[in-house]
């Protein structure tokens, strides 16, 4: 306090330096006024300062030299402080939308604050290859499997209340930029009956979908050429598209605010304990338990072993590869361990086209029975379009190069046939992304692997992982923390179907 009282007088004695009003704005720290005062009285003697400075520098150098001498702990190698911890409860591999959704739900469901320590390991924090940010961002209820319909409904519900779930105090609310434009599926004579069946399932599950005859389609969307169309199904609600980045970042922001930590690094291996067990067919199988996860730091040889209780495999298109590190799928052909996790990257192209005379604000995400799809992108006459190639023509997945010939040969003719306005269009850009493609039945794989009793999978969504991520995250968190599914029963999406070779196929019209 004494310092304070002296202050105004001193300040006036050194005019032009600081006015007393300025000084009162300085930090409330009790030491602060003191130092201010001192500096004010000594500020005249600058040559003295210079020597003091020099002295301090010399002292610093001396100390450094002493440190380098043998016997001290100093090394010239830089120590990476971003190393993951030695121990964590749950390690999530893959920081895509699925990984972060699981992280959020784990924190949401923990009973005490900080009850579970969750870390997310992502090898590429800029997401140059992650499917999440390269996707088209659509959400629909028009599936044939009840599980998928329920996943979509639950996720739509989550997105509607996104700020109750993912809002962070004192931060901007989340704006998904959701376009409520619906999906329009077109079916020909051959598949119309499937569409009708799917429609009934969807209605029963509570999805708001309507069937349209070709004339009704023409009435609603005069720009569609309905030739060859026998039936159409059109989503009225909860369908459309949104910004994947926003959803990913919202999950991430919320999860981090709840105590999840993220680490940059690649998971390159595991340390496991193996128990040999015998099946009823007298086959000996090794059931593994992961002890620790090896996280390789980027651009260095350094790695960290993270001891953990549970590992979540949310590595998207590369989750099959991650499972391979544990020997899954490498065993003899007809044995238990010879069944691989059937998820691999498949390259899909997305083309952005410009067409000033194209359809307007009411453009849905249209999926034609020929396989081609398109949707509006913004309001300026831009559209994005693409289609899945034939199984035999799958492009090579070493890079994310775009094949423009594919658009010219395959996509454009079909697109222009369906929407004649697209005969005059210009491709303005294009990108490619990896589907986390489930080669077995193109549906998600959710649950524990029978041969690794603490690795949970959430992968293989093959083109609908983004829209299902909120509900899938909740389901996986339930599996881990409650031991079974509580809200949505997704046990049909487990590994059992793969082991028993009973695919859960969508009855698609394309």
């Amino acid at each position: 306090m004494a310092a304070w009282r002296q202050l105004p007088g001193r300040a006036r004695a050194a005019p032009g330096l600081l006015t007393s009003t300025r000084l009162t704005q300085l930090p409330r720290d009790r030491r602060a006024p003191l130092t201010c005062r001192r500096s004010l009285c000594t500020s005249g003697s600058s040559p003295n300062d210079y020597f003091k400075d020099l002295q301090a520098q010399l002292a610093g150098m001396k100390k450094k030299a002493a440190d380098v001498l043998p016997g001290s702990s100093w090394t010239s190698l830089e120590i990476n402080t971003d190393l993951p911890p030695k121990r964590a409860d749950i390690v999530i591999v893959g920081g895509g939308v699925v990984g972060w959704s699981i992280a959020y739900w784990l924190k949401q469901k923990e009973r005490v604050r900080g009850g579970v320590q969750v870390i997310v390991v992502e090898r590429d924090p800029t997401y140059t290859q992650a499917s999440t940010v390269l996707s088209v961002g659509g959400i629909r209820q028009q599936f044939s499997l009840l599980e998928n319909i329920h996943l979509s409904l639950a996720s739509a519900d989550f997105m509607r209340n996104i700020n109750d779930h993912l809002g962070v105090l004192n931060e901007e609310p989340v704006d998904l930029q959701f376009n409520h434009s619906g999906y329009l599926f077109l079916a020909n004579e051959k598949v119309a009956h499937i569409m009708e069946e799917n429609y009934n399932t969807q209605r029963l599950a509570g999805a708001k979908v309507s069937l349209l005859s070709p004339t009704q389609v023409k009435e609603k969307f005069p720009w569609i050429n309905t030739e060859g169309v026998a039936l159409a199904s059109y989503g009225l609600e909860n369908e459309g598209w949104f910004d994947p980045w926003t959803l990913l970042n919202a999950f991430k922001r919320k999860a981090i605010s709840m105590g999840v930590t993220q680490f940059c690094g690649e998971v390159t291996g595991f340390k496991t304990l193996t128990n040999i067990m015998t099946t009823i067919d007298d086959e000996k199988v090794g059931v593994q338990r992961i002890k620790s996860v090896k996280v390789q730091m980027p651009n260095s040889l350094q790695y960290q072993l993270v001891d953990c209780a549970v590992v979540v495999n949310a590595a998207g298109a590369f989750s099959g590869k991650l499972a391979e590190m544990l020997g899954i799928g490498l065993g003899p052909k007809d044995s238990f361990s010879g069944i691989p996790v059937p998820v691999e990257p498949r390259k899909r192209y997305v083309y952005v086209v410009h067409c000033p005379d194209g359809p307007g604000l009411d453009t849905p995400l249209l999926i034609d029975y020929s396989g081609v799809y398109f949707r509006r992108e913004g309001l300026g006459g831009n559209y994005i379009t693409g289609m899945s190639p034939e199984e035999v023509e799958e492009p090579d997945t070493n890079d994310l190069e775009v094949d423009h010939q594919f658009f010219q040969d395959k996509v454009w003719p079909k697109l222009a046939n369906r929407v004649p306005a697209f005969e005059k269009l210009k491709v303005s850009s294009a990108w490619a992304g990896f589907y986390d493609y489930n080669t077995f039945d193109q549906n998600g794989i959710i649950g524990m692997h029978p041969l690794i009793n603490n690795m949970y999978f959430a992968t293989g969504f093959s083109g609908h992982g983004l829209q299902h991520s909120p509900a899938v995250g909740r389901a996986v968190a339930e599996l881990i923390l409650d031991g079974n599914f509580k809200t949505l029963d997704l046990s049909n999406f487990g590994f059992k179907r793969i082991v028993e070779q009973e695919p859960m196929l969508e009855r698609n019209i394309v």
Binding site: K52, D164, L236, G360, L361, D362, N382
Partner: protein
């Protein structure tokens, strides 16, 4: 001595930072009131305060859900029409039954006459929910109204794009819709009005979150050709709209 100089320098810098931040904060359009700013400040330091603030949010949300609850009990005893009317009046709106010229309106204090109970099994034709707290869940109480022709929702703070997407339930009857001054509506929700093919009159004035209003209104007119669109409170000269089209 130089060290103390450094400290002074730092202090000044820090105060400059503080000031800079404050300026930045005040420049944002909606600066929260002092009390909530104080709370937010404390939130960052104390878990207890954070807890309290989140409780407050929860409380508000629950309150909103309660006002918009499903009037199933009323529906069971008086039928869907009375339940819908009751819900509307309870929220402070107004209704007109089919074939009646008389409006029932809640007054400023939320009081209303119970005479509307006379009109059991008479559907609603006009509903005015302007300036009420109706939201997506509350809409469920109105869904049974298949003869609803006019719906006024001017200045409702809880109406969002998901609400608009749900309006398809009135697609066979709705002729007039007013969603002016709703602060949460964006272009993504306006696209959902495509299902309302009978619409003759649509008010979309002063929607603050619609970007490029000029262009959006042209597109709306294109989407609903038989509908007159009334949009005021925007500066939508043709040149601006053109510019936006080029931009996006």
């Amino acid at each position: 001595m130089s060290a103390s100089m450094v400290v002074l320098h730092r202090c000044c810098q820090r105060s400059a930072l503080l000031v800079a931040r404050r300026q930045w904060m005040s420049s944002s359009a909606s600066r929260p009131p002092l009390v909530s700013r104080l709370l937010l400040f404390l939130t960052q330091r104390f878990y207890d305060v954070e807890m309290l603030v989140s409780w407050k949010h929860h409380f508000k949300r629950n309150q909103l859900q309660k006002t918009n609850a499903y009037y199933g009990y009323t529906e069971k005893f008086y039928g869907t029409d009375i339940a819908a009317a009751y819900y509307i009046l309870k929220l402070g709106g107004g209704v007109r039954f089919v074939g009646q010229s008389e409006w029932f309106h809640a007054d400023r204090r939320g009081k209303f006459s119970w005479d509307f109970l006379k009109f059991k099994n008479t559907p609603l034709e006009e509903v005015d929910m302007s300036q009420t707290l109706i939201n997506y869940t509350g809409l469920r109480n109105l869904e049974t109204q298949k003869q609803l022709r006019t719906l006024r929702l001017r200045g409702c703070p809880e109406i969002d794009d998901w609400f608009l997407a749900r309006l398809h339930v009135f697609q066979d009857s709705l002729e007039e819709l007013d969603i002016s001054d709703c602060p949460r509506i964006t272009t993504g929700g306006l696209a959902a009005l495509r299902n309302l093919k009978r619409l003759k009159l649509l008010y979309v004035s002063s929607l603050p979150r619609v970007s490029c209003p000029g262009l959006v209104i042209i597109l709306l007119e294109e989407m609903l050709p038989q509908c007159q669109i009334i949009a005021e409170g925007y500066d939508h000269s043709v040149r601006q709209a053109e510019g936006e089209r080029m931009e996006s």
